[in-house]
Every structure is written in C-alpha cells, then in structure tokens.
C-alpha cells in the first residue's frame, strides 16, 4: 500500500514541480534561423484590411530577411490584457492605451527598449506631452506613442436629415445635443444620443463629459492624489444625462454599451450621436460596415468655462517582456516600420497610404499629432493623393480639433476609477429614482479609497 501511495504522491507532485519551473526569455527562431516576431493585428478586421496588413508584413520581411513576422489578432481590453501578458500569449509587439504606460513601466511588465528607441532619428522630435505617456520616471522612452486622439461627437448624418436637422451644422453646445437627440428620437424612433457604460468605458466617457463641463475627477498635489468626483460640474453632467434619459427618453433602450457594442449599433444606424475618440471612423468602417455617407463627426461641445477641455489619450506600442534580445531588436524595427515610419518618413508614409488605399482601407482619418506639428503637416501633404475618407463630413471636427484645449486622462488608478463610474452611470440610466447627489457622494468615496490603495 505504502509504495502505491508514494507512487501516487510522486505522480501528483511531479507535474506540480514541472509547471513551477520557469525560463528566462529566449528568442524564438524558426527552422531557417530567423527570429520569429509576433505582432499585433486588430482583431475582427475585414478581409481587405487583413490583406493590407499582410502586404505591409511582406514589405517588412523583404527589407529584414532575418525576421519572420507572424501577425496575431489582438485588441487591447482591460480584462484580458494582463492575463495575456502574464500568460505569454500576448504578441511580442502590442498596443496599450496611454493610461497604462506608466504603470506597466513601473511594474516592469513590459520590455525596456529605451536604448533602442533612443537610436531612432525622430525620438527627440516627439510631441513632449504625448511622449511622456511612454516614459519611465527617469525619462527613458520604454514605450513609443503611435497615435493620439481627442474625444469627439460622432453623429449619423442620415438620421439628422430624417429628423429635419442640418447634418452640416451639428450641435455645438450640450443644450443643442439634448434638443437634437430628442428630435431624432421623436422623428426616427432611434436613440438620439447613446453612451457607453460598461467595461470601464462608462467611466471614460463620464470623465470626458466632466472635462467638457469644466471639471476634473482627480486633483494631484505632488505625490498626493485626491478624488474629485463629487463636484458641481459632474452634478451638471449627471443632471443633463438624467434629463435626456428620463424626461426626453432620447437615449434609446440599451444602457449596457461597451466600445465595441456602441460602435456596432452606431454603424447600423441605431444611434444619432455618441462620444468617442476622434479617430473612430477607421473602426466603424473596417470592423462594423459603416456606410460612409452616414458618417459625421463634430468637435466635442465644451461648456463656457475656463477649465473646460477635451479628454485626450492615445496608444503606445510596447514590447512584451517575453521577447529575447534579437526579438527586441526586431520589435523596435517593426514599430519603426509599421507605426512610426508612416508618420515620419515620406517613402514609408506613401507606401503605407498606397497599400491602404489599394485595399480600400481608410486613409486620412483625423488624428492628433504624436510628432511635432511641422512633421505632422508634412505627413498630411505626402499622403494627400491617397486620402479616401469623407473629409468634408469630418470638417466640423477637423476645423476645431487643434484649437480645443486637450486634457490628459486621470493618472491615478485610472481604470479602477472608471469602473466605479461605470456603476454610477448605469444606475443613473436604469433607475428613475436614482439620486444624483447620493450617487456622486458614493462614487467619490469609492474613488478616494481606490486611489488611496493604488
């Protein structure tokens, strides 16, 4: 019996020991000795977009014969990101939002590629506000900013027309947003204005509206951070939303939208207006089958207050800490080629725009500059002939996007506070009796304790 038991114990313990063993990152090589580099490709792309991506991969491999690039479908989501990173299933080159940059660097969850990035010719020319999101405390560039956005008001021109509104004159104040939303719902039966509420996006958009009304959700003083959710500005935001939801009934019937869900319903013509990043057109077109004629985008209406601003954010390209030394070299080359080349180098910009336009992918989607303004303007000139997005329909946004004050996202426990605000906005939109003051008091206390813990 005893020998059975010990055999059994050994059989149970051995696999435990085996799984406990780890290894330091090694480069993955293919049969030809090329270093294998997995790179992020947006999940759920339509076939033309995948074709465009693969064409870029082929161009890169031709220029770098010792690298074997393998595209992997990847879209950043708060829920799956760390598990992917920790489990080693994230691609070697991946993208994360600005809000995560500092935290990932502090916790050393991503590879330190700062010396390689410093060698790139344009690093010193990066827009300093934007570059900061990818820097460690000592100013080293661990992550490369590849795109920046400001929030905007997206609207459906067809629904505007059907509702008797002028699609070339979108709302410029929140009072106009409210009346346009009501008119759209009354005349077309669709949601006049909808808002994200789930998966931390509820907090993201609520914070955007708070900024637009002149508020801030946190106050930073040196190392100390204080949650400032319960403010007159946020009260005004919630009061406006409550009026649209419960008095006007102009916010539709879905109050559990996340980013993907609201994009889908907007592209399907079920939403009149919603707030999201100014560059959303690409996703709406390539992943949700938006009809270009339906699309319009306007600058986010700002309250007439000195602190009113547009929430801005962006995307960083980072390298997984699982990549080995050769892998890291290859990763930075890919970031330079795929993400940055098109912003800084004429040949690369033209090649990228040409490939995209040949595969009928959007070229010329509005974005804020990650490099200095002069380089940005030059880049716009280089690709001008390939632009295929309806620029005139984007004028209400592009005419004003550089003039609006840009405010960065909150920095302390950003996603956790967004999550708390998810509950606030859900409660407001699904419970007629919800008390704005009580909601904000509770959210403020929760946010404060989260920031204190974080």
């Amino acid at each position: 019996m005893k020998s059975y038991r010990s055999t059994l114990a050994a059989a149970l313990v051995l696999p435990l020991l085996m799984t406990a063993c780890g290894s330091s990152p090694d480069d993955e090589l293919n049969a030809d000795g090329k270093v294998v580099l997995t790179v992020a490709m947006d999940a759920g792309l339509e076939s033309k977009a995948i074709e465009a991506f693969n064409a870029r991969v082929a161009q890169f491999e031709q220029a770098n014969p010792d690298i074997d690039v393998k595209p992997q479908e990847y879209t950043w989501t708060a829920a799956t990101f760390t598990a992917q990173l920790a489990g080693g299933t994230a691609p070697d080159v991946l993208t994360v939002p600005f809000t995560d940059g500092r935290g990932l660097i502090e916790r050393k969850q991503i590879a330190d590629i700062s010396s390689r990035v410093a060698a790139l010719p344009y690093t010193s020319g990066l827009n300093p506000t934007v570059a900061k999101a990818g820097q460690s405390a000592d100013g080293k560039q661990w992550a490369v900013p590849i795109a920046a956005y400001g929030q905007a008001l997206h609207y459906n021109r067809t629904l505007f027309t059907q509702a008797g509104l002028d699609p070339d004159k979108p709302p410029t104040t929140w009072a106009e947003v409210r009346s346009a939303a009501k008119q759209i719902t009354d005349r077309t039966g669709q949601a006049g204005y909808a808002q994200m509420t789930q998966g931390n996006t509820g907090g993201w958009i609520l914070t955007t509206l708070d900024y637009a009304f002149g508020g801030r959700t946190e106050k930073i003083d040196g190392d100390k951070a204080e949650a400032t959710v319960d403010t007159p500005e946020m009260t005004e935001v919630l009061t406006t939303l409550r009026a649209m939801r419960w008095d006007d009934n102009s916010m539709g019937a879905n109050f559990l939208y996340d980013w993907a869900g609201i994009n889908q319903d907007f592209a399907a013509g079920r939403i009149g207006m919603y707030v999201s990043g100014g560059g959303n057109y690409g996703n709406l077109l390539t992943q949700n089958g938006l009809k270009p004629a339906d699309y319009g985008v306007a600058a986010l209406p700002l309250a007439d207050k000195p602190d009113a601003g547009v929430l801005g954010g962006g995307t960083l390209a980072v390298v997984s800490s699982n990549a080995g030394e050769r892998g890291r070299d290859a990763a930075v080359k890919w970031i330079d080629f795929y993400y940055m080349g098109k912003l800084t180098n004429q040949d690369a910009a033209v090649a990228d725009a040409k490939t995209l336009s040949e595969t009928k992918q959007p070229v010329g989607v509005p974005a804020l500059p990650v490099v200095d303004r002069a380089t940005y303007d030059k880049q716009q000139e280089w690709v001008k002939q390939y632009v295929n997005v309806p620029l005139t329909q984007m004028k209400p946004y592009t005419d004003r996007m550089f003039d609006q004050p840009l405010v960065t996202e909150p920095t302390k426990s950003t996603q956790e506070v967004y999550k708390i605000l998810d509950t606030t906005v859900q409660k407001l939109l699904t419970d007629r009796g919800a008390d704005v003051a009580a909601l904000l008091k509770a959210a403020d206390a929760d946010a404060q304790s989260t920031i204190g813990r974080g």
Binding site: S3, Y4, T7, L8, A11, L12, V13, L14, P15, L16, M18, T19, W76, T77, A78, A79, T80, F81, T82, A83, L85, A86, G87, V96, P97, D100, G103, L104, R107, K108, Q109, T197, Q198, G199, G252, A253, N254, F255, L256, D258, S321, Q415, E416, K419, D422, T423, Q426, K427, L429, T430, D431
Partner: protein, 319 residues
C-alpha cells in the same frame, strides 16, 4: 447487529484474518503493479497538470501579492481580509443567493414536470425528449447572443414585439436592475433544463410498470400516482440534482458576464463575476491574490454545504 445469536454454530464463525504480509516492490511489480501504473499514468499526469497544479497554485497565490510578471510578495491573510472588507462582496453574495433562489423556484421543478409529462405521453416520446434536450446542444455563448436579441429593450425587440401584440410592454428586461436577474434565470433555465430532463427520464424508466398498475387498481389518479409512486422512486436522483443545482448556481458566471457584465449598477454582479473582476478588472495586473482568496472561500463554503447536505439527507436518500 449488536446482539449476537448465542445459538450460532462455531463452524460458521469466520477465521481471524491472516496477518497482512508486507509486499516488496518486486512482488508489487510482478503482480502487474507497473502495468497498472502505466495505464494510470496518462490520467494522473493530465489531472496533475490541468487540475491539481492550478488548485495548488491558487491556494499559494491567495497568500501572495503578484502581477504574475514582477516579484511575488507573501502577504499572509491580507487578501482574505481585503475581500471580506469589500462592500461589493456582500452585493455579489446577495445577488448569487437571489439567482440561486430564483433558479430553484423555476429551474428545479420545471425539468421534473417536463420529464413526468414526457414519460406520461405515449406517442412521440422521443421527439419530445429531443426537443427538451435541444437547448443543451446550442453552444452557451450562441444561446446568450440569441437571447440578447430576444431581450432587446426597444419596442422592436423579439419579446417586446410579442408582448406588444397583447398590449403589454415594452419591458426593460436586462436594462432594469429589478428585472435583469430574473431575465438571466429564465435563459439559464431554458439552457440547462434539457440535461436534467434526460436524467429524470432515465430515472423514471427504472420505475416498474407494476407499481403504477397496482396504484391504478387501488384507484389512484395521475397526481396520486406521481406523488406516491414517481416522486419516491426519484428521491435519490432529486437529492443529487438539488445539490448539483446549488453548486452550479453558486458558480454562475456565463450569463451575467455575457448579458450584462454585472450591471445594471451591479444588480447582476455574482460571486464568480467578482472573482473575475478582481483578477481581470484592471488592465495593470489584476488582484490575483484577492481573486484566488475569494475562490478558495467559495470552494470551502460549497464543500461544507455539500457535506452538511449529504449528512442531513442521508436518511432520506435511501430508496
């Protein structure tokens, strides 16, 4: 058995057991021990790697603070204290109990009634069984996506259109904190009932026709037959499906995760969804320590509950 008959003949008394001989590894191997082990090995390895290793790792992790990439810190019982101090835990426990109660009220009797009815019909019994089982065949995620269309809260949603025909609605379904949980239970019952119906049908097949005939001769109608013949014969199975249902509902995750993400305003936040949120709610290395601590507490509560239940119902389950 405490009283021995004094008249028992001595010859029948069993001889005292022979002293157990210690077997050497060689004897063990000669008697086929190695072959047995060889056959057992794949199972042990698979269990070890995919079941026992994660369980052992999560027990260890519940005492740690880790983001799975950086260094690990042992924090003693801090994770447990943090979880128990989280006000959301009690919301989640309340919601899970509410789900379990609703699932028991609706989800427990419906398969039983369906099984009894199917077993009573004489024609097309196979067809009815197949229809009852059909929802189980639909992949759960597909089923949820399908029901999301049904639950569309706009007047053009499937259920609201049907309600509109009789002048009712539109109802808010998933978009209202009050109706979201019952809506989840309705879908969960639809999705899971088929499996239980099949178990009941199999058990019902074991009830001999003579007992029904005897009951009929005694003048019993259909209800008395069910009450006095069917249910007593199903008692053992009913007790097992009851505890399985309790364990299943305590671990409900799929429906709230896919339908509502725990909303609106945490009204469908369940214990398992909270565990998921602890682990994956933050993009900067979730609180894996708190997540595993709560998992261990849930497992302990369920284990104690099952043990108590089996003990209490031991005398009832003899059929």
């Amino acid at each position: 058995m405490a009283v021995q008959s004094p008249a028992r003949p001595a010859a029948v008394v069993a001889p005292p057991p022979a002293p157990r001989r210690r077997r050497s590894p060689v004897t063990w191997a000669r008697r086929g021990g190695l072959t047995n082990l060889l056959f057992l090995l794949p199972l042990l390895v698979v269990f070890g790697v995919f079941s026992w290793a994660p369980i052992a790792q999560s027990v260890v992790m519940s005492f740690q603070r880790t983001n799975l990439v950086g260094p690990v810190h042992f924090v003693g019982l801090d994770n447990f204290a943090q979880v128990l101090g989280d006000p959301l835990l009690w919301t989640a426990v309340g919601n899970t109990l509410w789900f379990a109660a609703l699932a028991l009220v609706f989800g427990y009797p419906i398969p039983l009634v369906a099984a009894v009815l199917i077993s009573e019909v004489r024609a097309r019994r196979g067809l009815f069984s197949a229809l009852a089982y059909l929802p189980v065949v639909v992949p759960p995620v597909v089923a949820v996506l399908l029901w999301k269309f049904f639950y569309d809260a706009s007047p053009s949603g499937v259920f609201n259109t049907v309600l509109g025909w009789v002048g009712l609605g539109p109802w808010q379904w998933l978009q209202d904190p009050g109706s979201a949980m019952p809506a989840l239970v309705l879908e969960a019952t639809w999705a899971a009932a088929g499996g239980t119906v099949i178990i009941y049908l199999a058990a019902l097949a074991g009830v001999s026709a003579e007992q029904y005939e005897a009951a009929e001769i005694d003048g019993a109608g259909i209800w008395r037959k069910i009450w006095h013949v069917t249910l007593p014969r199903l008692r053992g199975v009913l007790l097992v499906t009851f505890i399985l249902q309790i364990i299943g509902t305590a671990q409900v995750f799929l429906e709230p995760f896919l339908f509502t993400g725990g909303g609106p305003a945490n009204s469908t936040m369940t214990v398992l969804l909270l565990i998921y949120d602890y682990a994956f709610g933050s993009s900067l290395g979730g609180d894996y320590g708190a997540a595993t601590a709560l998992s261990i507490m849930l497992a302990a509560v369920l284990a104690v509950l099952s043990a108590l239940y089996l003990r209490v119902t031991k005398s009832w389950s003899a059929t």
